[in-house]
Assembly symmetry: C2
Homo-oligomer: 453 residues x 2
């Protein structure tokens, strides 16, 4: 064969020839928000829903690792070779801490499950992906979600070319009548609604929570309409004292709930350990039966092979240090998030004392837990305004339109209360109030509403 | 709403309504092989391509973590808050050890790349998935691979519904004429061959290696036919002394190679840290330009968010301990694998002294590196025979048919030389020789060839 040197010139790739998800706003929104944060490092950020860093210590990693090794030796009777093999080798795809997770679910959530129905994943995001990948057989298969929705749900659906049908949010979390109506309409038009994704406790972004009654009704709807429920529960432990609902999974008698768990907020994001509880039965064409967890595990074996056993050991060590209770492990953390949330809510009330008279059009919700508060304002909220806010006022937040997949949330912004120290919350709210005054003035009759931000 | 108690009965899921990958033999083969290993724990296993465990120590994890923290402080000037944030928080999607990886690629492989073109992934398997997900825009897009092929390539392709077109293996690794012919035929039938996946050094399963000349020719073919090359290189460091070829990426002047790296064999599988070097330019419809690495990172943000920074810290610490050289970090390991491979090859020669006369039909290849040797035998090799071998002779290996996506390899088996201690290699080969004698006797004229195994 004969080749000239011009052959060596590089070919570019073109977005139009790459997977459609790469042209989708859902996949760019995370990047855009990070990029704004990076460009304005000195801005006070209510943007990222990160856990507080004040309780992180490097020493804890060493301690957790040692505790987990001790558990392998003492509780499981492993010799040193087995300990090393568990930490260092490829491990079982479903994970090496499924027993510990099952114990913590029993203690903290009254969820009783066989550890075999648990798949440990690279964060809850991988668990979500595995479920959608498994359930999306062809283009009739759709997933439902309350809108506004967690960006990661929309993004994971894009990766498997699965349509997300929006269900209306009600004041109590989900508009259940709308859910039934969306399912019926979808079926009537030939679609197969496979699952309904929701965060029943202190949802991201809205902070809403389903009542216990609504949880029972939802389980009945799932039964009647043969719908799996994907229950994502990262924030459930961070509630006002005494104000806690049972998880859907703990009420689930018909194995209709896949429970998606995360250590990111209750352990630490840096382990990237989450899991799915998938105790559904899957029947193959020969009548063979398997756990849905085993099917998810087959997909995982071709995606990430397994979740780092070293990272699992750190998460497992944290569980062991607290008797397998994340409630116990998070006493200080829960108090911190409660204080922060109250400070944000009180701070908003102080700065917008009577929203009907002095601050027309400014309002906010009052979640009883979780990381987020949503503020409604009487002007358009978008990425341009975020950029203006960062540059002119040094404060970052998240435009709610990012959680609507392109339609809605145009006059709302999300404040994450989790990460900031008290004094920064106060300064941040001052800056936000200044931004709101600025925008109101411009948009008022006689103000210079036409200026671009 | 009114519901009866019968609503609560569980619905089963059905494989036919789940994604087709879950009915695919490619995704079950890994499970089947693991399951056989679990059922015969006392069998000597040439099956799994695992690294040797003899150099693993729990203490090294503590040391690597501390070294990485020291590096953050001393080399990057981080304060304690930044150190904690790096280890514990969500981090950049592309990873926190891209600089260290770039250094190691320069030192060990003479690959010079901007760290910005590196995406750290959850093992090399995630990197492979990200590439295929990005490149599969619609059902015309196909990926090519030398057959027999790594099961993980076939599995990842199944997850994105991408067809894998087989290219013939030649004695020097790839039959390059067949490659060109497969590309031409695919294009003529309306398909778009997007990439060619290969393991140029000591491939899995065949142990073949491309000559330097063939590497140059392959790069020219890639240029002429506008084909990306996906170079997977887990075994390159484990060669006979002096017998090393330059990586394709180090010869790549046209940014046609995406380099897929793994720490599983050179670091430890338990970190689940791999990476992609993707320095290609991607042009969007408005003429905007981005690195292919950034597009892969967008997909990753919706799949696993980021690779555990704690796991990256352990991998990073190992790099730092050895001056960013995995060659230096693996001196003992490389020697161990060399010794094991020679022991397997010598052991086969001793047990089948003249394969043409005394052992008709028994032959094997003689790879000059890597983990694997392929043995050809004069009878059918399949999962039933593996089970028989485990039960009757206490020896495990991998039927080569698993690497052919259903067609081929019916009289070959793969031996992994990496994992076993010398004395177990000898006993294992004795057992294998006994199995081969057994099968030959049964299949010889007059033998009882009809008996099922």
């Amino acid at each position: 064969m004969n080749y000239s040197d011009t052959d060596l010139a590089a070919d570019d790739l073109h977005t139009v020839e790459l997977h459609s998800s790469l042209s989708d706003p859902a996949l760019s929104s995370m990047n855009f928000l990070n990029e704004v944060s990076n460009r304005f490092p000195d801005a006070i950020s209510f943007a990222a829903g990160r856990p507080s860093e004040k309780f992180f210590e490097v020493d804890s990693v060493h301690r957790y690792l040692d505790l987990f090794c001790q558990y392998l030796r003492d509780d499981l009777g492993y010799d040193e070779e087995q300990v090393r093999r568990t930490l260092f080798q490829y491990g079982r795809t479903k994970g090496v801490i499924t027993e510990l997770i099952a114990q913590s679910l029993a203690i903290d959530e009254r969820i009783e499950v066989d550890p075999e129905s648990i798949v440990v994943t690279v964060g809850c995001q991988e668990a979500l992906y595995l479920c959608l990948r498994a359930l999306r057989a062809d283009d009739r298969d759709v997933v439902l979600a309350v809108f506004p929705a967690y960006v990661g749900l929309i993004g994971a659906a894009r990766l498997v070319d699965m349509t997300v049908l929006p269900v209306r949010e009600g004041p109590g979390g989900v508009d259940l009548d709308d859910l039934v109506s969306v399912v019926r309409k979808a079926r009537a038009s030939g679609l197969r609604p496979r699952a309904f994704y929701l965060v029943p406790d202190f949802s991201n972004p809205s902070g809403t929570t389903l009542s216990t009654d609504d949880r029972h009704t939802l389980l009945h709807i799932a039964a009647e309409h043969q719908l799996l429920l994907l229950e994502d529960n990262p924030y459930g432990l961070f509630h006002e004292q005494g104000d806690r609902q049972p998880t859907l999974k703990s009420l689930d008698r018909g194995r209709r709930v896949v429970y998606l768990g995360s250590f990111a907020k209750t352990g630490m994001p840096g382990v990237r350990v989450g899991y799915a509880v998938a105790d559904q039965t899957v029947v193959d064409h020969r009548g063979g039966r398997a756990l849905f967890a085993d099917e998810l595990s087959k997909i995982k074996s071709m995606l990430t092979v397994n979740t780092s056993p070293l990272a699992q050991a750190v998460a497992g060590g944290k569980l062991l240090e607290h008797g397998c209770s994340l409630v116990r492990a998070n006493v200080r953390e829960a108090e911190n998030y409660r204080d922060n949330r109250r400070r944000v809510l009180d701070g908003l009330a102080k700065r917008f004392p009577d929203s009907r008279i002095e601050s027309p059009g400014v309002s906010w919700n009052t979640p009883s837990g979780g990381f987020f508060v949503v503020v409604t304002v009487p002007f358009q909220v978008d990425d341009d305004l975020l950029e203006y806010s960062a540059r002119q006022y040094g404060v970052l937040w998240t435009p709610m339109c990012h959680f609507y997949d392109g339609e809605g949330g145009r006059n709302q912004l999300r404040l994450a209360c989790s990460f900031l120290a008290p004094e920064l919350i106060e300064s941040g709210l001052d800056r936000l109030a200044a931004l709101i005054a600025d925008r109101r003035e411009r948009e008022a009759p006689g103000g210079n509403g036409a200026e671009t931000v």
